[in-house]
C-alpha cells in the first residue's frame, strides 16, 4: 500500500508534529463499547494470548471523553444510531474510528432487501478510519487494524507487512 497522501496543515511544526503523532499513535485508548459478536473478539484481543497491551492500547476507557479510538464492534441498528452518534460526538479530538466486522462496514449479513432496522455501515454516521473485514474478525485482525491506524497517524509502519 502506498503511504497515504495527507494534506498538510497550514501551520507546520514538522519535528514536533512527528513527535505528537508518534505519541498519539502509541497510546490509542479504545472505548469500552461492545455491540455484538465482534465485541467478544475485541475482549479476546485484550486477553493474554493476543494482548493488545503490548501496543499500549489496553486502556479500555468506559467514558468517551477519555478514549481516542472508537471500535465499532458489531451491528448498529436504527434504535442505537443516535446513541452511537452521540458517543462519537462526545469524544474529544483527535479521534479515530475503527469499523470492526462486516456489520460495521456495510451491514454484513443483515444487508438484505428485507432490512428494516440495521444501519448499513458505520460510515453512514461518521467517518471511519480503518475497516477490518470478517464476521467476526479474528483478534489478529484487530491488532492489524490498530497497526494500520498507527500507520495512518504516523505515516510509518511499526513492523514490515507480512
Amino acid at each position: 500500500m502506498e503511504p497515504e497522501n495527507v494534506p498538510s496543515s497550514i501551520v507546520q511544526f514538522s519535528q514536533l508534529d512527528k513527535l505528537l503523532s508518534l505519541g498519539r499513535a502509541n497510546s490509542l485508548w479504545p472505548m469500552t463499547f461492545g455491540l455484538a459478536c465482534c465485541a467478544i473478539e475485541m475482549m479476546c484481543t485484550g486477553g493474554s494470548r493476543y494482548d493488545i497491551a503490548r501496543f499500549g492500547a489496553e486502556v479500555f476507557r468506559p467514558s468517551p471523553r477519555q478514549s481516542d479510538v472508537m471500535i465499532v464492534a458489531g451491528t448498529i441498528n436504527k434504535k442505537l444510531e443516535e446513541a452511537v452518534k452521540t458517543l462519537y460526538d462526545q469524544m474529544p479530538e483527535p479521534k479515530w474510528v475503527i469499523a470492526m466486522g462486516n456489520c460495521a462496514i456495510s451491514g454484513g449479513p443483515f444487508k438484505v432487501k428485507e432490512n428494516y432496522n440495521v444501519v448499513e455501515g458505520a460510515d453512514q454516521l461518521f467517518p471511519v478510519d480503518v475497516y477490518i473485514p470478517g464476521c467476526p474478525p479474528r483478534p489478529e485482525a484487530l491488532l492489524e487494524g490498530i497497526m494500520s491506524l498507527e500507520e495512518k497517524i504516523t505515516g510509518k509502519r511499526r513492523w514490515p507487512r507480512v
Partner: protein, 175 residues
C-alpha cells in the same frame, strides 16, 4: 395420572362441543396439522399431538375469548410460559397467535395454545395478568404484528424504536 392427562382433563370443560369420548377426539387432533395452511377451517378443542414429530404434546385451539381461562387452568397446573409467536396468514385474512407452555416437572409436557383473529381487527385479551412473563412476549408480538393485547398494562414497542410506524413481520410488509 400424568400431567398430560391432568391438563387435558382440566381443559376439557372449556370446550363443551367436544363431548365425544376421547377416542373420537384423537383423529381430530391430527387434523390441524394437515390444515395448517388454512387456519380458518379449524374448530376449537384440545388434542394430543405426535411429540416425536412435532415436539409438543398438547394442542389447544381456542377462541380469543377463552384465552384467559385456558391460561388460568395452565397456571393452576404449574405450567410456565415459554413464548408467544404471531403468525400472519394474509390469504385467509387472519392473524394467529401461538402460545407455548411447558412445565418444570420431570415429565415433559408441552402445550401449544393457538388462536386466530381477523387481520383487520387483531384484538386478543392479555394473559399478562396470569403469567407475568407474558408481558414482554405480548409486547413483542404487538411490535412485530400489530396484534393488540386487550388489557395489557403497557403495550408499547419493545424491540423497534418507539416511533416506528410499521409491523415488520407481517407478510406484506416490505421496507
Amino acid at each position: 395420572m400424568t400431567i398430560l392427562e391432568q391438563t387435558q382433563a382440566a381443559l376439557a370443560p372449556l370446550f363443551p362441543a367436544q363431548e365425544e369420548p376421547p377416542a373420537a377426539a384423537e383423529p381430530e387432533g391430527e387434523e390441524p396439522v394437515e390444515a395448517a395452511t388454512s387456519p380458518a377451517e379449524r374448530r376449537p378443542g384440545v388434542a394430543t399431538t405426535e411429540y416425536s414429530r412435532q415436539g409438543y404434546h398438547l394442542e389447544v385451539l381456542c377462541e380469543p375469548g377463552q384465552l384467559v381461562a385456558v391460561a388460568e387452568i395452565l397456571d393452576r397446573q404449574r405450567f410456565f410460559i415459554e413464548s408467544i409467536a404471531g403468525v400472519d396468514w394474509p390469504k385467509q385474512e387472519q392473524l394467529e397467535v401461538v402460545y407455548d407452555f411447558t412445565t418444570y416437572e420431570a415429565e415433559p409436557c408441552r402445550v401449544a395454545v393457538r388462536t386466530v383473529v381477523p387481520r383487520t381487527a387483531p384484538l386478543v385479551p392479555t394473559i399478562s395478568g396470569v403469567f407475568s412473563g407474558a408481558d414482554w412476549h405480548e409486547r413483542e408480538t404487538f411490535d412485530f404484528y400489530g396484534i393488540i393485547f386487550d388489557g395489557h398494562p403497557d403495550l408499547s414497542r419493545i424491540l423497534l424504536p418507539e416511533d416506528a410506524d410499521f409491523h415488520p413481520l407481517l407478510k406484506d410488509y416490505m421496507p
